[in-house]
C-alpha cells in the first residue's frame, strides 16, 4: 500500500515515465500500422499498451486516463480481431488519443490532477469508430473545441512545467507565452475555415488536421519533450529537456509532435523494440546524472594515470612501474567502457522525424517520405542532445520550404512525393550528418534580394557574390525568406541558431543547393567531447595540444631541406607535399609570440628532437648552429589541409578536454584546455580556428586562391592581344578558361561510372578507358561513396593525339570569343596567365602541362577496351 507521500510520488513518477515511453512507442506503431493495416503483431502491441495504461491508471485512480485508454483499447480489440479495418480516420483518432493521454499525463506530472480537459468528444468519437460503418473522420466541430480546451489546459501548465531553461536557447522565455497568447485567437479563427462537407472526406480530414495544428501550445511540447530522449532517461533529465524545448518552440504546430513523439520509421522498427519480453531484462534504467559523474571521475582518473605514468617512466624496472602499467591498461578499458555508455545511436533522435514529417506534410498539404541511412551511427549523448533541435529545425525547413506542393512537383516532372534523406556516417574521427531533399532548392536570387532588403548586404556585393557565398547568407541572424511566417517555421530564428548550436559543440554546418533540384545540408561533429588523444607541441616554450582527429601527418625537414622546401608565393608560405601544395601557418606568428631568433621564416630554431617524440629540452628557441629543422604538423580544417609550423613535436597523450572560462572562450584558435601529465596546463588548439585566422579558410568556410600558387618556372609563351574562342569554366569558385581548340567534347558523366584503375580514376568512354583529371581543388576527392548518388561530373574531353583525357571541372560556363590581354603573369604550374574575360579575372589553363603532369605516360593509361587494360 502507499504509506507515504514519497512512495506515492515515486510510484506516480515511475508510472509517468513508463507511460510516456509507451506513448512514444504508440506513435511509432500507429504510423507503421497506417502503412500496414493488417499487421497483427503491431495491433497486438498497441492493444497491450493501451491495456496496460488503462490498468495502471485505474489502480492509481486516474479515471479520465482510464476511460480514454479503455475506449482506445476497445477500438484496438476490434481491429485486432478483424472486426474492423484500420483507416485514416481511426488512425487519426488514435493518434489524437495518444496526444490527449500525453496532455493528461503532463497535467498529472505538474499538478497531480488530471486536468480540466474535456475528453467527451474524443470518447464519443472513439466509441463511434467502433461501429463498423463509420467512415471515421472527425467532425469539424470537434477540432476547434478540443483545441481550445487544450489551449486553456496548457496555459495553466505553461508556468508549472517551465523549469530551468537552458542558457543556450536565445529566444526569450516570453515567447512561449506569446505563442500561447496566439493560440486561442487562431483557434477562434479556425471554425469558419472549416466547412463540413461529408462528401469530401479527404478535405474534412485535412481541415480537421489543420485545425488541430492551429493551436498547439508550446508547453504541451514542453510536457511531451519529457518523453523524448534515450533509453537511460530519468524524470530529472526529462524536465530539463522539457524546459529546453519550451523556449525554442515559440512557433507552435509541428513542434508539438516533434518534441513529444518518437515517430515510426517507414520500415518496420527493429526487433529490439518489439513486444519480446526478453529485451527488457537485458537493460536497466540509469540516472543520467549518475553516468555523468562517473564520466567525470573517469576523466580525473585518466589525468592522474597520466601523471603516474610520467613519474614511473623514469624507472621502468621498479615494481611501481609494473603496477602503473597495469593501472594504465585498466584505466583505458574503463574509459572506453564508460564512453560507450554515453554513446547512443542517432536513431534516438531520428525516430521522431517520421512523425514530424507526416504531420508537417499533412498540415502543408504536401507529400514527402523520409529515408534514413546509418541510423545506428553512435554519438555521445551530449552531442545528441545538442543536435536534436538543430536537426529538427532543418527537417521542418526542408518540408516547409524545400519540398514543393504535389502540383508543383508534378508540373516540374518530379514524383509527386518528395524525398527527404537523412544520412549519418563516421569519417575521419567525425560524424557526418546529411539532410538531402529533392525539393525546389534554394533560390539564390531571392536569398540575395532578402539579404539586401534587410541591410545585411550591399547590392553591389550581392551582385558579385558567388553562388556558394550566397548560400551562406541563410546563416545570418534574422534571415528568413519565407513569404509568410507560418506556424511551422520561417520566423527567421532558424539557420543561424542551428549553426551556432552546432559550432558550440565543435561542429560545422554547410549547405549545397541546386535550384529546382534540391538542397543538401551537411553537418560534421566530433565523435566525442570528453577524452581525446592529442599531439603535444611546443611553441616558444608554451605547450599546446592538437586533437588527433585533426591530425593528418607530421613532416620534419632538416638542414638545407628545411630552407629550400618552403616556397613563398604572394606572401603565403607553402610546402609541396607529394605534389600537393600545402599552405603553411606559422603558429608563433598566429599566436603573436616572439619570432624565432633566425630571420628567415623557413628556419625553425628548435633543438633537435629525435622525431620519435622525445620531449625537447629547452625549447626556448635557441638556434643550434649547424642544424636547422622544421617541424610541420599537417592538419585538417574542414575540407582543407594545411601545415602548422611548430618549434617541436612532443608526444601524444590522452587528454581530458576542459572548457575554457568565459573570458577566453571566444578566442577561435582554442578548443579548450587540459592538464598534462606533468600538471601543467596546456591549451587545446582548434585547427579550423587557426585556419580561419591565418586565412587558409575564409570566414565562410570558403577558399582562397593564393594557396594554389607556387613558383614553378614555365617557359610556355604567353600570348596576348589575339582573339580566341574560349571555353569558360568555374573552378573552385574562380573563373578559368581553355582554348576551345583543346576541347574535343563536353560530357556529363555520372559519378557512378567512375572507376579506379591503378593510380587513376577512369571512366569508360567510347570503347576506351579514359583517365580523369580533376582541374580544381577537388583533385583526389574520393568518389567511392558518391557511387549511389546521381551526381554527374562535368567533363571536358581533351584529345592528345590518339588519347583522350577527361578534365573534370566544377561547372562549364560559356563559350566566348575574347581578346586576350594577359593582365598578370604568374609562375603557376597550371596556368599560362590571367586575363579579364567578361568582367572577371580568368585563369588561362595550361592543359598540355596539366595533363602531362597528371598522367606522365598517357599512352599506357588509355588503352582500347578489350585489349587488356594496361600494357
Amino acid at each position: 500500500m502507499l504509506d507515504t507521500d514519497e512512495e506515492q510520488n515515486e510510484l506516480i513518477q515511475e508510472f509517468l515515465v513508463e507511460c510516456y515511453e509507451g506513448l512514444d512507442k504508440l506513435d511509432q506503431d500507429l504510423l507503421t500500422l497506417e502503412e500496414d493495416p493488417r499487421n497483427t503483431e503491431i495491433l497486438s502491441g498497441i492493444f497491450r499498451t493501451f491495456h496496460t495504461i488503462k490498468g495502471t491508471a485505474g489502480f492509481l485512480a486516474f479515471r479520465k486516463l482510464e476511460s480514454v485508454a479503455h475506449q482506445a483499447e476497445n477500438l484496438l480489440s476490434k481491429l485486432r480481431d478483424g472486426a474492423l479495418v484500420m483507416n485514416t480516420g481511426r488512425a487519426d483518432a488514435l493518434l489524437k488519443t495518444v496526444d490527449t493521454l500525453r496532455a493528461i499525463l503532463a497535467s498529472i506530472e505538474s499538478s497531480r490532477s488530471e486536468g480540466d480537459e474535456d475528453c467527451t468528444e474524443l470518447l464519443d468519437n472513439l466509441k463511434r469508430l467502433q461501429q463498423p460503418d463509420q467512415d471515421g473522420f472527425l467532425s469539424s466541430g470537434v477540432a476547434p473545441a478540443t483545441a481550445t480546451a487544450e489551449a486553456t489546459n496548457e496555459a495553466s501548465e505553461a508556468s508549472a512545467t517551465r523549469t530551468t531553461a537552458e542558457a543556450s536557447e536565445p529566444t526569450p522565455t516570453s515567447e512561449p507565452e506569446a505563442g500561447l497568447g496566439h493560440s486561442p485567437e487562431t483557434t477562434a479563427a479556425a471554425p469558419p475555415a472549416i466547412v463540413p462537407s461529408p462528401a469530401s472526406l479527404p478535405d474534412a480530414v485535412a481541415a480537421a488536421r489543420a485545425a488541430r495544428w492551429a493551436s498547439p501550445p508550446p508547453s504541451l511540447a514542453a510536457a511531451q519533450a519529457a518523453a523524448a530522449g534515450g533509453a537511460a532517461s530519468a524524470a530529472g533529465a526529462d524536465e530539463d529537456e522539457g524546459a529546453e524545448a519550451a523556449p525554442s518552440v515559440g512557433k507552435a504546430s509541428g513542434n508539438k509532435k516533434k518534441e513529444g513523439s518518437e515517430a515510426s520509421v517507414a520500415t518496420s522498427t527493429a526487433p529490439a523494440k518489439s513486444s519480446k519480453p526478453n529485451a527488457v531484462d537485458t537493460s536497466i534504467r540509469v540516472d543520467v546524472n549518475l553516468l555523468d559523474s562517473i564520466m567525470n571521475l573517469v576523466g580525473e582518473l585518466v589525468l592522474t594515470r597520466n601523471q603516474i605514468v610520467q613519474h614511473t617512466a623514469t624507472d621502468p624496472s621498479s615494481a611501481l612501474a609494473a603496477t602503473s602499467q597495469r593501472l594504465n591498461l585498466i584505466t583505458s578499458d574503463l574509459q572506453e567502457g564508460v564512453m560507450k555508455t554515453r554513446m547512443q545511436p542517432i536513431r534516438n533522435v531520428w525516430s521522431k522525424f517520421p512523425r514530424v514529417v507526416r504531420d508537417l506534410t499533412t498540415a502543408c498539404g504536401k507529400r514527402a517520405s523520409l529515408v534514413m541511412e546509418g541510423e545506428e551511427t553512435e554519438l555521445d549523448r551530449t552531442i545528441l542532445e545538442a543536435i536534436k533541435d538543430p536537426l529538427t529545425h532543418m527537417v521542418r525547413n526542408s518540408v516547409d520550404h524545400g519540398i514543393e506542393s504535389v502540383e508543383e512537383r508534378v508540373a516540374a516532372g518530379k514524383p509527386a512525393e518528395g524525398t527527404l534523406k537523412l544520412r549519418a556516417y563516421h569519417e575521419g574521427g567525425q560524424v557526418n550528418l546529411e539532410l538531402i531533399d529533392d525539393g525546389r532548392g534554394i533560390d539564390i536570387d531571392r536569398v540575395k534580394e532578402k539579404a539586401v532588403e534587410r541591410g545585411l548586404l550591399t547590392r553591389d556585393k550581392a551582385g558579385r557574390m558567388s553562388e556558394r557565398e550566397a548560400l551562406q547568407l541563410i546563416f545570418l541572424p534574422g534571415f528568413s525568406t519565407a513569404q509568410k511566417v507560418t506556424n511551422v517555421s520561417g520566423r527567421g530564428v532558424g539557420m543561424d541558431v542551428v549553426r551556432t548550436n552546432i559550432e558550440k559543440i565543435g561542429g560545422t554546418v554547410d549547405i549545397q543547393s541546386a535550384k529546382g533540384e534540391g538542397t543538401t545540408l551537411r553537418i560534421k561533429i566530433p565523435l566525442t567531447l570528453a577524452i581525446i588523444p592529442a599531439l603535444l607541441v611546443t611553441v616558444d616554450g608554451c605547450r599546446f595540444a592538437i586533437p588527433q582527429v585533426s591530425l593528418i601527418e607530421l613532416v620534419r625537414l632538416e638542414g638545407e631541406r628545411a630552407r629550400d622546401a618552403i616556397e613563398e608565393v604572394h606572401g603565403t608560405p607553402v610546402y609541396r607535399l607529394r605534389g600537393e601544395l600545402l599552405p603553411l601557418v606559422d603558429l608563433r606568428k598566429e599566436l603573436g609570440l616572439r619570432p624565432r631568433p633566425e630571420i628567415d621564416h623557413a628556419g625553425a630554431s628548435a633543438p633537435m628532437s629525435a622525431g620519435t617524440g622525445v620531449p625537447a629540452g629547452s625549447s626556448e628557441g635557441e638556434a643550434s648552429v649547424s642544424e636547422t629543422s622544421l617541424n610541420i604538423v599537417v592538419l585538417q580544417a574542414d575540407d582543407r589541409q594545411y601545415g602548422l609550423i611548430v618549434d617541436s613535436v612532443n608526444d601524444t597523450e590522452e587528454i581530458v578536454v576542459k572548457p575554457l572560462s568565459q573570458q577566453i572562450r571566444d578566442i577561435p584558435v582554442y578548443a579548450g584546455a587540459t592538464i598534462l601529465g606533468d600538471g601543467r596546463v596546456a591549451l587545446i588548439l582548434d585547427s579550423i580556428g587557426i585556419a580561419k585566422r591565418a586565412h587558409v579558410l575564409d570566414e565562410q568556410h570558403g577558399h582562397k586562391q593564393a594557396r594554389e600558387e607556387a613558383p614553378v618556372v614555365t617557359d610556355a609563351p604567353i600570348r596576348g592581344g589575339q582573339v580566341e574562342t574560349l571555353l569558360l569554366l568555374d573552378l573552385d569558385e574562380n573563373r578559368a578558361a581553355i582554348p576551345l581548340s583543346s576541347v574535343a567534347r563536353l560530357e556529363e558523366i555520372p559519378v557512378a561510372e567512375v572507376e579506379q584503375s591503378g593510380d587513376f580514376l577512369v571512366t569508360q568512354y567510347r570503347d576506351r578507358i579514359m583517365p580523369l583529371v580533376w582541374l580544381g581543388r577537388t583533385k583526389g576527392r574520393p568518389v567511392s561513396r558518391a557511387a549511389e548518388s546521381d551526381e554527374r561530373l562535368q567533363v571536358i574531353v581533351h584529345a592528345s593525339g590518339e588519347q583522350h583525357v577527361g578534365l573534370v571541372v566544377d561547372r562549364i560556363h560559356d563559350i566566348v570569343d575574347a581578346s586576350i590581354v594577359i593582365e598578370r603573369t604568374t609562375n603557376r604550374a597550371d596556368t599560362l596567365g590571367s586575363a579579364v574575360v567578361q568582367g572577371r579575372v580568368t585563369d588561362l589553363l595550361d592543359i598540355a602541362g596539366i595533363v602531362h603532369r597528371a598522367i606522365p605516360n598517357l599512352a599506357r593509361a588509355t588503352a582500347p577496351r578489350g585489349e587488356g587494360a594496361r600494357a
Partner: protein
C-alpha cells in the same frame, strides 16, 4: 540596524580592495601559470588548481595600473564557483574584516575612472578607504578587446 558583513581584503598597488567572503573560494600563493596567447592582456594565464583549470585575471592591468615590480609575486584570490573558474591576481592579501554593511557608501565621484565601473561602494576605515569590488563586473572582460 547593523548588517554584519565579512570581507576579504587585498591590496593592488596600494589600493585596498574588498570582497564579501561568499564570493571567495580560497586564497592562494603564487602558482605557475600557462600563458594564453591572443587573450586580453588582463589575463595573466591559466592555473591548475587541484585538477581544475582556473583563469587568472591580473587586477593591476584590470585597473590600468602600472605593472608589478619584477620579483614581486602576486597572490591569488580564487572566486567562488558561481563566478566561473576565475582567480584575481593581487599584490597582497589583507585581513578578513567584520564590518557593518550599512556603513558602505557610494563611491566618491573623485574616484579614478578606471575603478569607477568595478567598485560598488566604499568603507571608510582608519585613515584609508576600502573599495568594495563588484566581482561580476571585475571579471567581465567583454568590452575589452580580445585579440
Amino acid at each position: 540596524m547593523s548588517r554584519p558583513a565579512q570581507l576579504c581584503t587585498f591590496t593592488v598597488a596600494d589600493t585596498l580592495l574588498g570582497l564579501e567572503v561568499e564570493h571567495v573560494q580560497e586564497v592562494l600563493r603564487f602558482h605557475e601559470m600557462a600563458r594564453v596567447p591572443l587573450a586580453s592582456e588582463t589575463i595573466e594565464g591559466l592555473i591548475n588548481l587541484r585538477g581544475q583549470i582556473v583563469t587568472a585575471i591580473d587586477m593591476r592591468r584590470r585597473f590600468s595600473l602600472p605593472p608589478r615590480v619584477e620579483d614581486q609575486r602576486p597572490m591569488n584570490v580564487v572566486l567562488s564557483p558561481s563566478h566561473g573558474s576565475v582567480s584575481l591576481l593581487v599584490d597582497d592579501i589583507g585581513d578578513v574584516l567584520d564590518l557593518d554593511d550599512q556603513e558602505m557608501e557610494s563611491p566618491p565621484a573623485t574616484l579614478d575612472p578606471a575603478f569607477q565601473d568595478l567598485i560598488r561602494g566604499v568603507y571608510k576605515l582608519d585613515g584609508r578607504l576600502l573599495l568594495m569590488l563588484d566581482p561580476v563586473k571585475a571579471i567581465d572582460l567583454a568590452p575589452m578587446e580580445t585579440a
